[in-house]
Symmetry: C2
Subunit: 163 residues, 2 copies
Amino acid sequence: MARRGKDAEQKALEALDAGQVEHLGVPLWRASRAYVNLMMAGYRRLGYGDLTESHTGLLPHLDIAGTRITTLAERAGLTKQAIGQMVSDLEARGYVSRAPDPSDARAKIVRYTSKGRRFVRDGQTIKKDLQARCRALVGGDKFEAFAEQLEALATQLEDEAAD
Amino acid sequence: MARRGKDAEQKALEALDAGQVEHLGVPLWRASRAYVNLMMAGYRRLGYGDLTESHTGLLPHLDIAGTRITTLAERAGLTKQAIGQMVSDLEARGYVSRAPDPSDARAKIVRYTSKGRRFVRDGQTIKKDLQARCRALVGGDKFEAFAEQLEALATQLEDEAAD
DNA sequence: TTCGATAGTAAAGTATCTTTACTAAAATAG
DNA sequence: CTATTTTAGTAAAGATACTTTACTATCGAA
């Protein structure tokens, strides 16, 4: 009987099945995705169904005092052309406006409209609420430690990726 | 002096600045992104520079025995058309092949080529290595607890998002 | 004052999807 | 056993979120 050989081969094949190797990447991705989905659901509930993830991801990079396109590009890690397109979108939807920078005729300053400021306030409410829900899920006593570990892991992984 | 009024206004404006509200979404997203970047860097180092994130994300859903397009679509949470396109890509690059399903003339079975199996094995090596590095970063004694908390958080956030 | 760097725009290209629409085969209802 | 509905897959076009290439206008420094 080639029983042993068969088993070994089967084992090797099974070992190849992808779910096999457990690693932090999976829960990290799932949690991150679910979190964003909950954020977007919150925005939709409050009437911001006209904004996509890229919009809601960009707006928090905008200071109340106004911010240049180039600065937004640096913060978001995208090209200034990409930011220019998003700003045009957000302008068309009434969330921001473009104004000339008095200190530099080449530059423009992107500012919130009142609608944009309302979005930011509502976003902070949503984030605080979500944070509270996460705290409850993890457990109030363990939450701070968990958040710190996650924060540290994020920073260290980013450092490793930078090499 | 309208000093108090001025301060309050300033405070309100500052409070609007987006970075203000700390929430788990940020480290979750950063860690997830950095993790994927490290994975992709690993694949590139091993000679898989022809694969994108969507490819490397799909392949682990493929069983060694072969899997139908529709099943892959369910597992990946995408349409079967999207999967069909990716499978065509992966076929063109030599990682998988499409074969008729003997039990159903409508269906096709997607299988790894030997190159595809090599990719999976190398991927497991990369994942194990990354997992070990994460363990070292978090701290060996705290790692299991952290991983469990993260896993639970992911599942619970997904549940909340499903409502 | 000239010349390289910087701010922004314009247009086209690319990746990764979805939607709509279709064919062929299988499963099920009558 | 046939008629109808469902399921597997493909095809083509459209949407989104970008990047690359190319350009103009202005700034700043030699």
